[in-house]
């Protein structure tokens, strides 16, 4: 009997009336992962500990919807006693001595960490192919990428190994792989979730979020992850809210904006058509949809390159081979140790970004590039805010195409930025954004739509997302067995 393809509420009932136990779920999760081994979704599995934790839960009261459920965690989120590599050789043997705040939060709900998911090295990439541990594969077609950088989290959800995964999104790394694999991925408002224990890439952009097979389960997991944390200055203190509260509600009268930039020539015909179909559906259902211009959107990628590479070069300076992680051998002095440890420890993409970032922040360049980018970002954010004075939500395609081949060339250093051109603006403005599947291309690869909300209005995003999900009623399990 399989349970992990059921809904969270069904599983919850089965746990409550003791038809099944957390051990059954954990065992099933590992059977699924074994069966889908060639997806390469995981870097490290947590089998022994997960089974032990599941056994300990037996006899405990099933006190919340997430109780006893297996969850996959992206490998740039620190887990005490469980190897955390960030997809990099430099942290290949790194075992953290504390937990990220999100990890403490899911443990408080008695969720069980099943393993650490594959990802682009230090979350730098758009196809998860920069992982030191090899690229994960797309469950819809194993010759395709599953996007990135949270590619392993996306793959394991799409394959229905487990119900829940956590990803991180600095410039689209939750939403873009969610789009390529036909799942729901939410990047919450900057500050919603404490970043404590998320290995920093670009601190002013990084945010973690839930990745799930449907909207409701996504909102339930978000409920568990949010909150002010004294260990992260930028975490926001907000009144407690239930993110599922608008799910199932009508969208009549909802005002929706579509930025012309998101529907421009860069987007493939097939993707655009599917988004237009969805727009029609929304209009028929009583929402108004207007095309709008948002200034600076076309500059977002440039701003992102400057801010993300600049901050990365500073953040990744901590990998010096002294306090943790890999250290090069046969070295003469400390200077050589830095150079060799970082030269041997980092992969190509990471080195490239650190070097460009170092250049952008060095001396007067900081003013010429970084400060200027921060100024334009502020203006861009204000432009978004103006749109939200008139509209409830913004929508558009998540990606310009569907997932491409794993063997596609990687020789253009701009490619990983171009893949994220539609999702980057959301991070620049600190807004919440979510991918929702809206159909398939002619090769039956998923097409995704992003829904963008005003700051802290995730509940409204879930409202529209669940409406679309219910109206389209797509078969979103690869292979079709529901």
């Amino acid at each position: 009997m399989k349970y992990l393809n059921k809904s969270i509420t069904e599983i919850h009932e089965l746990l409550k009336n003791k038809t099944i136990t957390p051990v059954d779920l954990v065992e099933e999760a590992f059977e699924n992962i074994e069966k889908n081994k060639e997806l390469n979704a995981y870097i490290t599995l947590n089998k022994e500990e997960a089974l032990k934790e599941a056994k300990e839960l037996e006899g405990k009261e099933v006190d919340n919807l997430l109780f006893g459920l297996p969850i996959a965690v992206k490998d740039n989120i620190i887990t005490k006693g469980l190897r955390t590599t960030c997809g990099s050789h430099i942290l290949e043997n790194f075992v953290p001595i504390y937990n990220a705040t999100v990890v403490e939060k899911i443990k408080a709900k008695h969720m069980i960490i099943i393993g650490k998911t594959n990802m682009d090295e230090f979350a730098m990439g758009s196809s998860s192919r920069t992982s030191y541990f090899g690229a994960p594969r797309n469950p819809w077609n194993k010759d395709k990428i599953c996007g990135g950088s949270s590619g392993g989290s996306a793959a394991t959800i799409a394959a229905r190994d487990v119900l829940f995964a956590i990803g991180s999104d600095t410039g689209g790394s939750i939403r873009q792989p969610a789009s390529y694999t036909g799942i729901v991925g939410m990047k919450p408002t900057y500050g919603r979730i404490s970043r404590y224990g998320l290995v920093a890439f670009a601190s002013s952009l990084d945010q973690m979020g839930p990745m799930t097979k449907n909207v409701y389960e996504n909102a339930v997991l978000l409920n568990a992850l949010v909150g002010k944390d004294e260990k992260d200055l930028t975490s926001a203190r907000r009144e407690e809210e239930d993110f599922t509260r608008f799910i199932g509600k009508d969208i009549k009268g909802m005002k929706i904006a579509v930025p012309n930039f998101l529907m421009g020539d860069i987007v493939s015909k097939e993707v655009k058509e599917k988004i237009k179909d969805t727009i029609q559906l929304l209009e028929k259902s009583g929402a108004t949809v207007d095309y709008v211009d948002i200034k600076y959107l076309e500059n977002a990628m440039t701003l992102y390159q400057i801010i993300a590479m600049g901050e990365a070069s500073s953040n990744l300076a901590r990998f010096d081979g002294i306090r943790y992680g890999f250290q090069a051998e046969n070295i003469k002095n400390i200077e050589e140790m830095y150079l060799e440890t970082r030269g041997q420890g980092f992969g190509e993409e990471v080195k490239r970004r650190i070097m460009v970032g170092s250049y952008l922040l060095s001396g007067e360049n900081a003013k010429v590039y970084y400060n200027k980018a921060l100024s334009i970002r502020d203006d861009m954010r204000k432009e978004f805010k103006k749109v939200f004075e008139k509209y409830d939500l913004i929508i558009g395609p998540t990606t310009v195409t569907t997932a491409y081949d794993l063997t596609d060339p990687m020789d253009d250093p701009r490619k990983s930025f171009m893949d994220d051109v539609l999702v980057i603006p959301v991070n620049m403005a600190g807004l919440p954004g979510m991918n929702i599947p809206v159909g398939f291309d002619n090769k039956h690869m998923p097409i995704g739509m992003q829904i963008i909300g005003n700051s802290f209005e995730e509940a409204k995003i879930y409202q529209l997302g669940s409406f679309i999900e219910k109206s389209l009623n797509l078969e979103l399990t690869p292979g079709g067995e529901k």
Partner: protein
């Protein structure tokens, strides 16, 4: 001919980033870094923006935690996480000069 940085320019940024590059990498990055640097130059085409700087996009208030003694990581575990350690100390290579044994 493909545009590229000079060898010295690549070595300069590699030095800033404390990254040792192989000969092969230097050649590759001469082309690749040039492409990225050309991309970021596009920022100079953006006109008409305010000079206000947005450090990070969060709508919350900056709230510093109280300066109170709290739980800390166990120093023994911290030290043991270092690739080389002895007792309560993290071992590092020679800082000035060169070690003889290497």
């Amino acid at each position: 001919m493909e545009e590229k940085l000079t060898r010295e320019e690549v070595l300069h940024v590699a030095r800033l980033a404390r990254i040792q590059l192989s000969e092969e990498e230097i050649e590759k990055y001469q082309v690749e870094l040039k492409k990225l640097l050309k991309d970021v130059e596009k920022i100079n085409d953006v006109k008409g923006y305010d000079d206000d700087i947005l450090i990070a996009c969060w709508d919350g208030n900056t709230e510093l935690r109280k300066d109170e003694e709290g739980e800390m990581l166990d120093p023994k575990q911290v030290v043991e996480n270092a690739p080389h350690h002895a007792g309560n100390y993290i071992e590092v290579p020679v800082v000035i000069g060169e070690s003889e044994g290497a």
